[in-house]
């Protein structure tokens, strides 16, 4: 059984269809990239999965539970973590407190008290390599540090599925490599499925993505292993605007 299943999910904004009849399955521990240009519906899809928006049509099943109408704060503890494209730290709180919030509210166990959460936070901060910033106010971090902190915060929720909003955009290639290795290692150990948003398909190749789902104007056009997807003519059309032959002819 798939960890996450979307069945014909549609989300509209006042007549504008942002996500159109999308069905997909994500298995436990899988690394998937949601690929599509700006405005293709990636962010809306994420927001529908974690409950910021409710879809007009379709169902969302997570870990065997129908979560279609569940508010976001009830979905997170089931095991859905999220990072944002532009990091959204709780600025006035320290890094340690930020990560502790994830441990405190992001799991189903009601027994996690403040002290336990802070301990969990310390472990995760060590693991991510943020210990020198642990007492710093999150608002004062650099963008890269903020991204790392967000990942730590999401990991503290012990997610089964981690939704990452273009987590690598704007980072130095060396940092990306390092971070990808780190996330991959943790995800493998904890069996976390990762769905990351990718603006351009070429990024999926350098990333860790095993499977890509390509969105175009709200609809899913391709759902295949990364290598296959790269050669799919529909993908080439979306990204280059024409079939490859014509492109050659022009240039």
């Amino acid at each position: 059984m798939a960890l996450l299943e979307l069945k014909n999910v549609t989300k509209e904004f006042g007549g504008l269809v942002a996500v159109n009849q999308v069905s997909l399955e994500i298995d436990s521990g899988e690394f998937v990239g949601i690929v599509g240009p700006n405005g293709s519906g990636k962010t809306t899809l994420f927001n529908v999965i974690n409950g910021v928006f409710f879809p007009e049509k379709g169902n969302i099943i997570f870990d065997g539970v129908d979560i279609t109408r569940l508010p976001p704060f009830k979905r997170a503890p089931l095991g859905i973590g999220r990072t944002f494209q532009i990091p959204r730290p709780f600025s006035s709180a320290t890094v340690r407190e930020n990560v502790a919030v994830g441990a405190m509210f992001g799991t189903l166990s009601k027994k996690v008290n403040v002290d336990d959460s802070l301990e969990i936070a310390d472990q995760i901060i060590d693991r991510i390599g943020l210990h020198e910033y642990t007492g710093k106010q999150a608002g004062t971090l650099t963008p890269v540090e903020k991204k790392l902190m967000e990942i730590a915060r999401a990991l503290a929720m012990k997610p089964k599925l981690l939704l990452m909003d273009e987590a690598m955009a704007g980072m130095h290639p060396n940092d990306i490599d390092q971070m990808v290795d780190l996330i991959k290692k943790i995800a493998l150990e904890e069996k976390i499925a990762i769905v990351s948003m990718v603006e351009h398909i070429m990024r999926a190749v350098v990333g860790m993505v095993e499977k890509v789902i390509v969105l175009h104007q709200g609809s899913k056009i391709v759902d295949a292993p990364t290598k296959e997807a790269l050669e799919d003519p529909k993908v080439i059309e979306v990204y280059l605007g024409h079939p490859p032959e014509e492109t050659h002819a022009v240039s």
Partner: protein, 332 residues
């Protein structure tokens, strides 16, 4: 050891209150001023639990003090003829104040707390006026004539006790309310509630996605803050001045004062409202002697400057300055 150190930040708060009490008790003629300062500190601490910790502005906050005052006033007028109740009446009065402010906060919260930011503020700005005009318009509790219960209070407690209550014991109750509000603030800060409130104040959507039931925590802060306001109205307004008129107890002026105190001291800090209350109370007192009628003319630009230049307030600034020193554990 660990549990005791958690309460270190209460020390400066209690120290300030203790000094105020000593000065008031021992320096002749000072009690009245100290009583006023205690009122402002208590008001700041009560309001801070909501405004400071959630970042939501409740412009109708004074309404909770108003209904608290009515809770005490109605109890006293209704129970005056029952023989031999004595101080039990006052206790029931406080319970009624709690009940009224809880009910009002539930009613307002049910509508307003569904709304975000600006819409919340708009929904609350009319609460005090709305309630005032409801009481006046529908002639509830004697409508615009208000309730005067000096005689009833004397009848219940005896003239001497009633007078001691108005001039001293009511202020001690205010002090107790202020200290309880400080304790509850610290309790919140050290618990899940505090973490949830910080998260939702900084970024409500991210907080939701992290598994925080933001509505629940907003309601907790709102009701707690409202209850302290209700108690404060009952103690400081009903018992000290045994009458209640709708335009007075629903006067937006007190919300303004609460905002000034919290911002001046530092919103969301524990010690801030105490310092804010002291500074505001003292300046108001001396301004009313040397420049009567100019308090707000002076304070309005001060708030604007605080908001624009140092939004973290006095304690917020000190907290940053002493961050890595041994003083840090006392100042939050």
């Amino acid at each position: 050891m660990k549990t005791i150190s958690k309460y270190y930040p209460l020390l400066p708060v209690l120290a300030v209150y203790f000094i105020m009490f000593l000065v008031g008790k021992n320096v002749s003629g000072m009690w009245q001023l100290v009583a006023m300062l205690l009122f402002y500190c208590a008001l700041g601490q009560a309001f801070n639990i909501f405004l400071g910790m959630t970042g939501y502005v409740d412009f109708g906050y004074v309404a909770f003090m108003g209904v608290g005052t009515y809770g005490m006033a109605v109890t006293i007028t209704q129970l005056a003829h029952v023989e031999g109740l004595g101080f039990l009446v006052i206790t029931i009065g406080f319970l009624m104040a709690l009940l009224f402010s809880t009910l009002l906060s539930l009613a307002v919260g049910a509508v307003a707390l569904r709304l975000k930011g600006a819409y919340f503020a708009i929904a609350t700005i009319g609460v005090n006026e709305g309630l005032r005009f409801f009481i006046e318009g529908a002639r509830i509790w004697n409508g615009s004539e208000g309730l005067i219960f000096m005689a009833e209070l004397n009848q219940i407690l005896g003239r001497k006790t009633a007078s001691a209550l108005a001039t001293f014991w009511a202020d001690i109750m205010v002090l107790f309310i202020a200290m309880s509000a400080a304790y509850v603030t610290l309790l919140f800060m050290r618990s899940k509630i505090g973490y949830a409130l910080t998260a939702l104040r900084e970024d409500e959507e991210a907080a939701k996605v992290m598994g925080i039931n933001v509505t629940k925590y907003k309601i907790i802060a709102f009701i707690t803050s409202a209850c302290f306001a209700g108690l404060l109205g009952a103690a400081s307004w009903a018992l000290k001045t045994p009458y209640v008129f709708p335009p007075e107890v629903f006067e937006i002026h007190y919300t303004i004062e609460a905002i000034i105190i919290v911002l001046l001291g530092g919103a969301g800090t524990l010690l801030g409202p105490v310092i804010g209350g002291l500074i505001y109370g003292l300046s108001k007192y001396y301004l009313s002697i040397y420049m009567p009628g100019f308090q707000l003319l002076i304070f309005a630009p001060i708030i604007i400057v605080i908001i624009v230049i140092f939004p973290e307030g006095i304690i917020g600034m000190l907290k940053n300055r002493f961050k890595d020193t041994s003083l840090a554990r006392f100042i939050i």
